[in-house]
C-alpha cells in the first residue's frame, strides 16, 4: 500500500522535472524515468501484461522523441503576461482538483473493486475458453469488438503517418508540385 504511494510520488517528481527543465533532451529523459516508474507500479499492482507492453512502448516512444529533439534547443522565453497566465492556469487547476476530490470520494475505496462482470470473465476463461491468461481472453474473445475498433484506430494512425511522411504534394492541373517544399 505505502509502496504504491511512494512510486506515485516518484512519478510525480519525474513529471514535474520533465515539464519544468529547460533542455529538451533532459525533458525527454525525465519522461522516460516517469514511464519506467509506471512500469514498476504496474508490476506492483499485479498487471504483468501491462508491464511488458508499457516497457516496450516506452522504449519506442523514447527513440521517437529523442530523434525528434536532438540538436534542438530553445531558450526559455518569459515575455508577455507571464504572471497573469500562470495565475489563471493555477486557479483552473485548483478548481479542477477540488471537483476531482469530490468525485473520487464517491468511488469505492482503494482495494475493493466492484467485480460484477469480471467474476463472469474469471470463471468462464478457464472453464469454456480453456485459456489461462484472462487479460488476453478478454481482449480477444469476450470483448473482441473493442479490439477490432482499436485495430481500426491503429490502421488510421498508420495511414496518417504515411500521409505525413509523403515528400511530394498533390499534383495540380499544371503538373507542378502544389506543396512548397
Amino acid at each position: 500500500m505505502i509502496e504504491i504511494n511512494l512510486l506515485l510520488i516518484f512519478i510525480i517528481i519525474a513529471a514535474i522535472v520533465a515539464v519544468e527543465v529547460k533542455d529538451l533532451l533532459s525533458s525527454v529523459v525525465a519522461v522516460g524515468v516517469a514511464g519506467f516508474g509506471l512500469v514498476i507500479s504496474f508490476l506492483a499492482l499485479k498487471a504483468p501484461d501491462l508491464a511488458i507492453t508499457q516497457l516496450v512502448v516506452e522504449i519506442l516512444c523514447l527513440i521517437i522523441l529523442i530523434r525528434a529533439t536532438i540538436k534542438i534547443d530553445l531558450p526559455f522565453s518569459t515575455s508577455g503576461r507571464w504572471f497573469v497566465n500562470t495565475l489563471a492556469c493555477i486557479a483552473f487547476l485548483v478548481i479542477f482538483l477540488s471537483y476531482g476530490y469530490a468525485a473520487i470520494s464517491s468511488l469505492p475505496s482503494f482495494g475493493n473493486p466492484l467485480m460484477k462482470t469480471s467474476n463472469f470473465y474469471l470463471g468462464e476463461t478457464f472453464k469454456t475458453i480453456h485459456a489461462t491468461n484472462v487479460v488476453s481472453a478478454i481482449n480477444l474473445n469476450f470483448r473482441a469488438y473493442d479490439t477490432l475498433g482499436e485495430a481500426t484506430v491503429l490502421f488510421a494512425a498508420a495511414i496518417g503517418i504515411m500521409a505525413i511522411m509523403r515528400k511530394k504534394g498533390k499534383l495540380t492541373k499544371a503538373g507542378k508540385d502544389d506543396e512548397s517544399e
Binding site: 504483468p48 501484461d49 511488458i52 527513440i63 530523434r67 540538436k71 469454456t128 481472453a137 479490439t147 485495430a151
Partner: protein, 150 residues
C-alpha cells in the same frame, strides 16, 4: 556490408549476436499469448524493436533496402484483414467473433480456439506500426535549414 555506415565495429558485432535472440523472444511472446503474460501487443513491438536495433546499428540504408516501405504497408494491411477474417469466420459458430475452433487442453500451445490466431494478426499490426513510427523520424528528420521568410 559497408563499414562506413552506422556505428562502430563493436556495436555491429554485438548487434549481430543479439538480434536473433530478441526476434525469437518476440515470436515466443506472441505465440504463448494465451497461456503466459504477453500477447500480440507486447510481442509485436518486441519484433519491431529487433529491426529498429538493426537499423540504429547498421544505418538506415541497409535495412530500408531489405525491408522496404511497401512491404511494411503490405504487412499492416495483412494484419488488419486477418483480424477481420477471423471475425467474419466466426459465423461458422453462429455469430460475429464466436470462438468456433476446438478448445483443446489448457496449458498446451494449441488451445483456446481462435485466440492464438488473433494474437498473430495483432502482432502483424503492431510490428508495422512500430516500424512506421521509426520510419517517420528517420525519413523525415533530414533537418533542412529552416527558411527565413517574413
Amino acid at each position: 556490408m559497408n563499414q562506413n555506415n552506422g556505428m562502430s565495429l563493436i556495436v555491429k558485432t554485438i548487434t549481430r549476436l543479439l538480434v536473433g535472440f530478441i526476434l525469437l523472444y518476440g515470436i515466443y511472446i506472441v505465440l504463448h499469448g494465451h497461456i503466459s503474460p504477453g500477447g500480440g501487443f507486447a510481442g509485436g513491438f518486441i519484433i519491431a524493436l529487433s529491426y529498429i536495433l538493426l537499423m540504429l546499428a547498421f544505418g538506415k540504408e541497409e535495412i530500408l533496402r531489405k525491408v522496404p516501405q511497401p512491404m511494411i504497408s503490405f504487412l499492416e494491411s495483412l494484419g488488419a484483414l486477418m483480424f477481420l477474417t477471423i471475425a467474419v469466420l466466426g459465423f461458422f459458430g453462429g455469430y460475429f467473433f464466436s470462438n468456433w475452433l476446438p478448445k483443446g487442453i489448457p496449458f498446451k500451445l494449441l488451445s483456446a480456439g481462435t485466440i492464438p490466431i488473433s494474437n498473430v494478426a495483432l502482432a502483424l499490426l503492431e510490428v508495422s506500426l512500430g516500424l512506421f513510427g521509426i520510419f517517420l523520424v528517420l525519413v523525415l528528420l533530414k533537418f533542412t535549414p529552416p527558411k527565413k521568410e517574413k
